[in-house]
Structure formats: structure tokens, C-alpha cells
Symmetry: C2
Subunit: 280 residues, 2 copies
């Protein structure tokens, strides 16, 4: 399959559909709220309902792998169908897996999630860099070759993250900044957005992190249920010459299960984001 570069595909999808990522997070509480059973049947009905409601109108849908893994291989089979449905509906499928390893193991993760023909292939995945940004290269390279993208954890919205993300390297650079800089180095000066993004929570406040040179996209969870408001995007990322992809989960999902209510909630979310970005 010939696929355009990820940055171009993401930019086009956002231009057509608005600046929004909606998480597909089938945790037990939301299954219960939707009147679904907390089993693989409920998992499938929830996930496919979200895709049916939003797949033809939201730029990016982000299934969270953990909630599918919780049901074992049967849950992973559902995830395969969800990924296929997202693509068929024309949205970008960003699979939140936070994988990270070294050598042939990292290559196997890349094969699983970023290679043509794999049943779990997504348009982009999240990666976790505790083993070093360089350890992720098998995934970063394969994504670049196949028109896919990666988002490397940099600065997350949870308070425990500071232990590592705010630590300083030998030359006194913040760890999170070295991740952003490493991503920027891969993206280089290409005309379009590069395929290596970072994850940075919208609630992080002013940390001194500099996203200016990223030339990639920033996945920004933490809006809505996690306490940030759209205006935080401007405060946190105001100086970034990068594309901010705000991610909403509970605030949209809890409006369901009615299709019209889900669509209205997504519309409100994208409207709030765009108003904030225009003001910024």
C-alpha cells in the first residue's frame, strides 16, 4: 500500500474534520454507564458504537490497548476489528500502547503495530522511552517507511511523572526536553510535519519545556475529565510551531451511548479547542 507521510495525512484529516482526538477507553465504569456488560461482548459493542458515531467526522480516534488486553486474546481480536473499522471510516487510528523495549524485541513491537498487513497495524502508536529515545529506533524507522507515526511520552499530566520527566541529564537538560529534542532531530526541517510526535499533557502548566523546534505533532491528553480546559493548550503550547492534537475521552464518551449525543459532545469539544486556539 502506498501511503502518504503521516504528517501530511494528519494535517489533512485535521483540516477536514477539526483539531480533535477522541479516546476509545472501554473501562468498566463506562461500560456500566452505557448499560453494557463488563465482558468482551460489552467491549465490542461499546467500541464499535464509538466508531460508528464518530469515525466519519473526528480526525483521530485513539483506542487504549490496556482495556482490550484486559480480556486476553478475545479482547485483542476486538481491537483488530476496531482498528479496521476506524480506518474504513476515514479517521486516523492512533493506538495507545506505550510500548518500549530494545533490539529485536522493539523490532517485534514495530512489526506488530506499524507494519503493512499486521492485524494490529495502526496509523500511529504511542511509545515509552524509559530505555532511552534511541532504543525506540526500530519503531521510528518503520513508521517513517510505511507512512505511519509515533508519539513518544515526554511530559505527562500525572503528578508522579515528575520523578523522571523533570530529572536533569549530565548537561542539566530536563529529561522531557531531551525527548522533545530527539524527536525534533528525527523530524528535521521537512516541509510538512514530521512523523515523530510527543505526548505532553495539557495540564502540565509552565515547565520551561520548549516545543518550538519539534516540527511534529503534540498529543495532549488531560482535557475534560483530567482537569484541563482548552485555554490551557494556549498557555502550555503557545510558543510551539507544532500541531497540537488535544485528546478527549470521558468528556465525550460519557455523553453516550446515543449517537446524536456522542456527535454533539465531539462537536462541542472541537469547538472549544478551536475557539481557544484562535484566542491564543
Amino acid at each position: 500500500m502506498t501511503r502518504q507521510p503521516y504528517g501530511d495525512r494528519l494535517s489533512a484529516s485535521i483540516a477536514a474534520r477539526g483539531q480533535l482526538c477522541v479516546g476509545i477507553d472501554p473501562h468498566p465504569a463506562i461500560l456500566q454507564a452505557w448499560g453494557l456488560s463488563p465482558d468482551v461482548n460489552g467491549l465490542e459493542r461499546f467500541s464499535r458504537a464509538v466508531v460508528e458515531a464518530l469515525g466519519d467526522r473526528v480526525a483521530v480516534l485513539k483506542p487504549q490497548s490496556a482495556f482490550f488486553e484486559a480480556y486476553g486474546s478475545a479482547g485483542i481480536a476486538v481491537l483488530e476489528r476496531v482498528l479496521a473499522d476506524v480506518s474504513a471510516a476515514g479517521a486516523i487510528a492512533l493506538l495507545d500502547v506505550k510500548r518500549g523495549d530494545i533490539g529485536s524485541t522493539m523490532a517485534a513491537y514495530a512489526q506488530a503495530y506499524l507494519s503493512d498487513g499486521s492485524p494490529l497495524a495502526a496509523d500511529a502508536i504511542t511509545l515509552s522511552p524509559y530505555l532511552g529515545f534511541g532504543s525506540l529506533s526500530a519503531a521510528i524507522e518503520l513508521a517513517g517507511k510505511t507512512g505511519r507515526g509515533v508519539y513518544v511520552l515526554a511530559l505527562t499530566s500525572n503528578s508522579e511523572g515528575r520523578q523522571i520527566q523533570h530529572a536533569r541529564t549530565a548537561d542539566h537538560t530536563m529529561v522531557a526536553q531531551t525527548i522533545i529534542d530527539s524527536a525534533a532531530a528525527v523530524n528535521g526541517d521537512s516541509r510538512g510535519l514530521g512523523h515523530v510526535g510527543v505526548v505532553a499533557g495539557a495540564t502540565i502548566g509552565q515547565t520551561g519545556a520548549d516545543f518550538t523546534g519539534l516540527n511534529g505533532s503534540i498529543l495532549a491528553p488531560g482535557l475534560g475529565a483530567q482537569g484541563a480546559v482548552p485555554e490551557d493548550l494556549v498557555q502550555v503550547f503557545g510558543s510551539a510551531r507544532a500541531l497540537v492534537l488535544p485528546s478527549f475521552s470521558r468528556e465525550v464518551l460519557s455523553a453516550g451511548p446515543a449517537v446524536g449525543d456522542l456527535r454533539a459532545a465531539a462537536q462541542r469539544a472541537v469547538g472549544g479547542v478551536e475557539a481557544a486556539l484562535v484566542l491564543g
Copy 2:
């Protein structure tokens, strides 16, 4: 199911079978070397052959999830059977998944891998702490309640890991040391080994990391194919009042597929480790 605490079970298994973990790493090159097809059928034949040869005599078997994920839900179904076979054979099943997330997502990973009745439940799993040691608490707590264990990445054997693992927190502590200290704090002063271990590569050399107070086990990959020799265990972990669990993969697996050859390679590995530890 009433299960003894993980530290007691690990200590008993090592006392009975020797101080060794063997990885189940079905990467494409080893499937080819064994004359197996690089597909889910080869994956299953390889993995079950390792368990049949070693499950009744090696203390810990460690399947690497990435190589199963590479085949999608069909690969995960094989992993479920492998985990069941390892337990049935009497070995400890340590699943190398390196998961790490926050909140309800981390709870879902805990549910998947550490809860009674889950098809992917193992005796222990590996965790990755980029989001902070505290973000892993759902898994650490569930493991403690169910007689299972976790191994949190601390100091890994790959050179790229220094970017983050050797960074310094605000009080000038090395990040990896804060992981070891956090694990130690959970384990406390219990009489037996606690259930929170760390991953520290056997090739890391002298880093100044202090494992003295861990009161848990140290999973030490990197022996054999990755360049360390058993004597490195003494140099790196000599001062640790902790149980070192050396992990071999290629050095044992490449002796296969004959059952007798696999068993002899495992026997050589455990002999080398024990000779080095006696000398230390």
C-alpha cells in the same frame, strides 16, 4: 486461589531448581534456526517446545510478549496457552510486557496480567516507570494481594538507557536509584523477599547504584548473547542483599530444538551462575 507471597514462591523455586530465568523469545531468527515457519504455527511449536523441555526444571520462564503481539490476537492466544503450560509444569511464569500507564488504564493492565482468572495472568510481569514509580501502584497493589510480583525497569543493559536512567532528580539522586529506593520502600522489612523487584542489566558495570536495601529480587538480563558473563553478576550486584535472578535467552534457546540440548544448555547456565556467586 490461595497463593503464597511471590517472594516466598520465588525463593522456593530457586532453592529447588537453581538460580536461573530462561527467556521464551520467539523472534524470527530463532524460528528459522529451529526449522520452524515464521508464523503463528511456528510461534506455538517453538514456545511449547521450550516449556516441555525446561518447564519442569528451570525456576523461572520468561515469555516476551512482543513476539506474541507480532501475530495479533492469534499470537496472544498462543501466549495464553504458554502461560498455562508454564504454571502446569511448576515453573514461575514471568511475563515480560514492560507496561506502564496511569489511573484506570494502569488498573486495566493490572487486571489483564495480575488478576486471578484472567487468561493472560502471570506470576509476575515487568513494568516501565517513565510515568513515575507511583503511577504503577494499581499493578503493585494487585500483585501484592494475589501472591504475584512485579519487576520495575531500573538500570538496563543498553547504552541508550543512560539518557534517562542516569539523569539526576532535584536532590541529585540518580533516576534509577529512585526506582530502586521506591521498590525498597514497598517491600519494607518483611522477613521474606518482597514482591517488588527491579530490572538491572548484568552488563551495566559499576554505576554507583545501591541495591542493598531492596529486599526483593533483581531480574538481570544481558547474560550470554548480550555480552555479560556470570562473574559480572558479582561485580554489579555484589553488595546487594537481594536475590539476583539472571536471565538467559539466546544462549539457551540457540542450543535447541532438541530437548536434551536445551536441558544441557540450561544446566550449563545455572552451573555458571552458581559458580560465580559462590566465588563472589
